[in-house]
């Protein structure tokens, strides 16, 4: 359980060069999530257009939460909503795997690197923060589409 498992090169890379950061999307549902124990924050805007998910976000926080947001953006932006929700479920399972990984985790591509984070209970919330925000925004989108 060395921290090198936590801070894998690809995570530090995303942290130094975050992808998709900055609120660029004009429409969509905006949510604001906070990790009260450390103060990490994310503002995320998501819309579903032609079944495809559009996401943009801005955040402050530790390397883990920033890298997670960056990789999440790469992974989900432009994907169908159902696929995005499945990815979210997969990522959650990965984070609960206590370092074991899951059977289906290849779908997460680079974000598999977060398996190391799942060995550090105090950091799991950091990695999950952007995904929780995304899920919240998507569900709100779907709900308002149904109205």
């Amino acid at each position: 359980m060395s921290i090198d498992n936590l801070y894998q090169e690809i995570i530090l890379e995303h942290y130094r060069h975050p992808q998709g950061k900055g609120i660029s999307l004009e429409n969509g549902v905006e949510v604001h999530h906070v990790n009260p124990s450390c103060g990490d924050e994310i503002t995320l805007r998501a819309a579903i257009m032609d079944e495809k998910v559009g996401v943009s976000y801005d955040n402050t926080g530790c390397s883990i939460s920033q890298a997670s947001a960056s990789m999440m953006w790469e992974l989900v932006h432009g994907k169908p909503a159902t696929e995005v929700l499945a990815l979210e479920a997969e990522f959650l399972a990965l984070m609960q795997s206590k370092g074991q990984g899951t059977d289906e985790d290849e779908s997460l591509s680079d974000a598999i690197a977060f398996v190391g984070v799942s060995q550090f209970p105090a950091r799991v919330k950091c990695a999950l923060l952007p995904w929780m925000a995304l899920k919240d925004a998507l569900l709100q989108n779907l709900r308002s589409n149904n109205e």
Partner: protein, 422 residues
């Protein structure tokens, strides 16, 4: 069957000798239970190996402490059939009940001031009714009196009968459309009576009232499942179920819609000087540094209880109660206050002895090493109803055996002798 001799060996205090070198016969578990070595060690070990502020640090100890604390929560929740986030920790059952009464007070005031309330169920109006019973512990009476005084709600009581049971004949009128909450004890700590939970909760549901069960004397002694009784709140104290002092539990069926009570660190989501927002359950109800060692000790107590089995414990206590009732009732000067049969009762027996004051009875029993409780047992209205100043109370637990019961019965006879009562 419980191997009581083996159980007794697990409880260091029970091998003590008291007063003039008497064997200790501990019959005061309804006040507080003794602790097995495994519980005492769980507490010490936490301080020796893991102690750190939970939910607040990224360092190794804090991480380990948080994991231990949250798995303890899971075990304790599971013990009463709840999910983890549905229970929060308090310092004792008394605080748990006050938490609920203050939730009502807070929402009532906010509604009166036109502030958005979290849950309108908790906002009372003058004339609303709160239903309790005549056999409540002060912990489940005085906080409601305070709430009624401050909100203009009114208290109503399900009455006792002379057998020491609830008289439900007027239930439909006592619990009516004005009733907003019904709060009552599962097993009376004074009488030993086990109340008909389902009848009362069903009636409360018919009128849309919230329900609170004071499970202080039931969770330690019988199998209890909050989901199958479908109650809104349940409270109990760790120290009465082999756990450490300083930890109580509040179960909430719908925790995230309940207003907050104590506020401060660790229960917040975001704070500015002017305004704060609050975390989700269970953190929402756990302001400040939690009694982690005690919670972990309580989980060890649950392990101990589960290993023996709650059904087994309940049957064991009933067998002792049968023996004690038979023995005591053969003494003509004994007057049992509470049910004299084994139907719907647990291992708590209150009695008076001739016109001796219970304080004197307790003293002479104590001289013989027999620890019972004397007084009003924090349920003064029961004394008033039965027109006694106080009673002597013996209560049994898994570490008591037939010998303890025999000592009690012969001790009572010896007390009569001491004061020359015949």
């Amino acid at each position: 069957m419980i191997d009581v001799a083996a159980v007794k060996r697990d409880f260091p205090i029970l091998s003590q000798r008291v007063r003039a070198n008497r064997e200790l016969i501990y019959l005061d578990s309804a006040a507080t239970s003794q602790k097995p070595e495994s519980v005492i060690n769980a507490v010490s070990r936490f301080y020796q190996n893991t102690n750190a502020a939970i939910h607040r640090g990224a360092h190794a100890l804090a991480e380990a402490a948080t994991v231990e604390f949250e798995s303890a929560r899971e075990k304790i929740a599971h013990f009463i059939g709840a999910q983890s986030h549905e229970i929060c920790f308090t310092k004792n059952a008394t605080e748990s009940i006050n938490a609920v009464t203050y939730m009502f007070l807070n929402e009532t005031i906010k509604a009166q001031r036109g502030i958005q309330v979290e849950n309108p169920h908790f906002a009372l109006q003058a004339g609303d009714e709160i239903v309790l019973t005549q056999m409540e512990h002060h912990a489940n009476l005085v906080p409601w009196q305070e709430l009624a005084l401050k909100t203009g709600a009114e208290l109503r009581f399900i009455p006792l009968n002379t057998e020491g049971r609830l008289d439900l004949s007027d239930l439909e009128s006592i619990i009516n459309n004005k009733t907003r909450v019904v709060s009552f004890v599962h097993q009376s700590n004074f009488l030993g009576t086990i109340n008909p939970v389902n009848s009362i909760i069903n009636r409360a549901k018919q009128v849309g009232a919230l329900t609170l069960l004071d499970a202080c004397q039931s969770v330690p002694h019988l199998t209890m499942n909050v989901k199958s009784i479908d109650v809104d709140f349940a409270v109990f104290s760790g120290h009465k179920m082999l756990g450490p002092l300083g930890v109580g539990v509040l179960y909430l069926k719908d925790p995230n819609s309940a207003p907050v009570f104590l506020t401060g660190g660790s229960m917040i989501e975001k704070v500015t000087l002017e305004k704060s927002t609050y975390a989700q359950a269970p953190q929402r109800f756990e302001a400040g540094t939690q009694a982690a060692a005690e919670v972990i000790g309580l989980a060890a107590a649950v392990d101990y209880l589960e290993q023996i089995g709650m059904e087994v414990i309940h049957r064991h206590e009933l067998a002792l109660t049968k023996l004690a009732l038979e023995g005591l009732m053969q003494i003509p000067q004994v007057n049992i206050i509470g049910p004299t049969d084994l139907q719907e009762r647990g291992g708590i027996i209150s009695f008076t002895l001739a016109d001796l004051h219970p304080h004197d009875v307790g003293q002479v029993l104590d001289e013989q090493g027999i620890a019972v409780r004397v007084g009003h047992h924090c349920a003064w209205p029961i004394c008033t109803y039965f027109n006694v100043p106080a009673t002597t109370r013996a209560s049994f637990y898994l570490y008591n055996d037939e010998h303890d019961v025999e000592m009690l019965v012969s001790g009572v006879t010896r007390t009569l002798d001491y004061f020359g009562v015949s």
